[in-house]
């Protein structure tokens, strides 16, 4: 089950995402469903015709869990392949 506590280690495909901050201002405001993920990028389906490829390390994302909770994630901590992210260690606070 996807919760805010495990979202950054989880599979991102299928989640709703919004880019709230980026060094590339053209990316800010893009909102849609994640349809594909690579090590450095995620592909977001904006509408039926358009998909955008977003580089992870320059953006801050708002992911929405299936329960409707929102989590703000700095893209830098998502930079790795999804299968490697499970065993990656993150700094707790």
């Amino acid at each position: 089950m996807i919760t805010p506590q495990n979202l950054f280690q989880h599979e991102l495909i299928g989640l709703t995402v919004e880019i709230v901050e980026s060094s590339n201002m053209g990316l800010v405001g893009i909102k849609g469903k994640v349809v594909d993920e690579t090590r450095n990028t995620i592909r977001v389906e904006v509408d039926d015709r358009h998909e955008s490829i977003i580089p992870k390390n320059v953006a801050i994302f708002h992911f929405q869990t299936p329960e409707g909770q929102k989590v703000e994630i700095d893209g830098k901590i998502l930079v790795s392949r999804p299968e490697d992210r499970i065993k990656k260690k993150f700094r707790k606070i």
Partner: protein, 276 residues
């Protein structure tokens, strides 16, 4: 363009030594009179709980007082707004709300003890300060992301207690290093000059590695407190510019409080819950 503009700043003293109701009340009222917008009183872990109750009473009392007029004769000095260029006291406004931040001060015996005490105190308080001195304790403090402030890393040492390695760690983990003005006030001349040399070293490292720096009074009585403008003047003796001092007594303390208010929403570094 060099300066008729006013800079509005809120000054905070993040190191007042809490003891009991009467002395704390005196300290807080004096701090307000001197122009601070907020103070942090630090207690041991045992005294923290009971002091927190009476500090809310004092905070209500101090904020219910009528605000003074800037031309008041009884209180000519102060305050949160002042002209940095002319250093005149003419254009003053009084801060309406005064904030009190109770905190815990820990005196670790060794690095393991420091980690244990931080773990047990972190969730209880918003401000957590550790007193340094030993190089191993300084290192453990700088490496610990849960600690807010490392106070007096130079205590009972021949060097400043911080080196380039610790400075980098402190910057990575956002651990603020505190310069305690009370050490200068209480020490006699040969030791005083050494402490000022330690301050210079720390300031040099701060300029290179950009860790947060805080200037605290370490006041036990009202006679240890100094106005923000005095701190500004004194701090220029060990190499800080006016803007850097303003960061040290205004922005950095505020950042610590803001960050700690969000701490319960932060899941890991780089991920936090957001309200819908």
């Amino acid at each position: 363009m060099s300066g008729n503009y006013l800079i509005k700043l809120k000054f905070y003293d993040f190191h007042l030594q809490g003891r009991n109701y009467n002395s704390d009340k005196k300290l807080i009222f004096e701090a307000k009179r001197l122009g601070y917008s907020g103070v942090s009183l630090l207690y041991s872990k045992d005294d923290y709980k009971e002091s927190k109750e009476y500090l809310t009473e004092i905070e209500n009392e101090i904020n219910s007082e009528p605000t003074m007029d800037s031309n008041s004769v009884s209180n000519p000095v102060s305050n949160s707004t002042y002209n940095l260029d002319s250093n005149s006291d003419n254009n003053l406004n009084f801060e309406k709300t005064f904030k009190i931040f109770p905190g815990i001060k820990i005196f670790p015996k060794n690095s393991e003890d420091l980690k244990r005490q931080i773990r047990s105190s972190r969730k209880k308080t918003n401000i957590l300060m550790a007193v340094g001195g030993d190089l191993k304790i300084n290192r453990a403090a700088c490496e610990n992301i849960q600690l807010d402030i490392l106070s007096r890393p130079y205590y009972k040492r021949r060097d400043c207690g911080i080196n380039h390695v610790l400075a980098k760690e402190a910057a990575n983990n956002d651990v603020a290093i505190e310069l305690n003005i009370c050490d200068i006030l209480r020490a006699r001349s040969p030791i005083r000059s050494k402490i000022m040399a330690h301050f210079q070293e720390i300031v040099k490292l701060q300029k290179k590695f950009k860790f947060p720096l805080i200037i605290g009074s370490g006041a036990v009585s009202i006679y240890d407190l100094r106005r923000p403008k005095d701190l500004n003047a004194l701090s220029q003796c060990f190499g800080l510019s006016k803007n850097e001092v303003n960061l040290a007594i205004s922005n950095n303390p505020k950042n610590i409080v803001d960050f700690n208010n969000q701490r319960k929403d932060i899941i890991i570094v780089g991920a936090k819950k957001v309200d819908n």
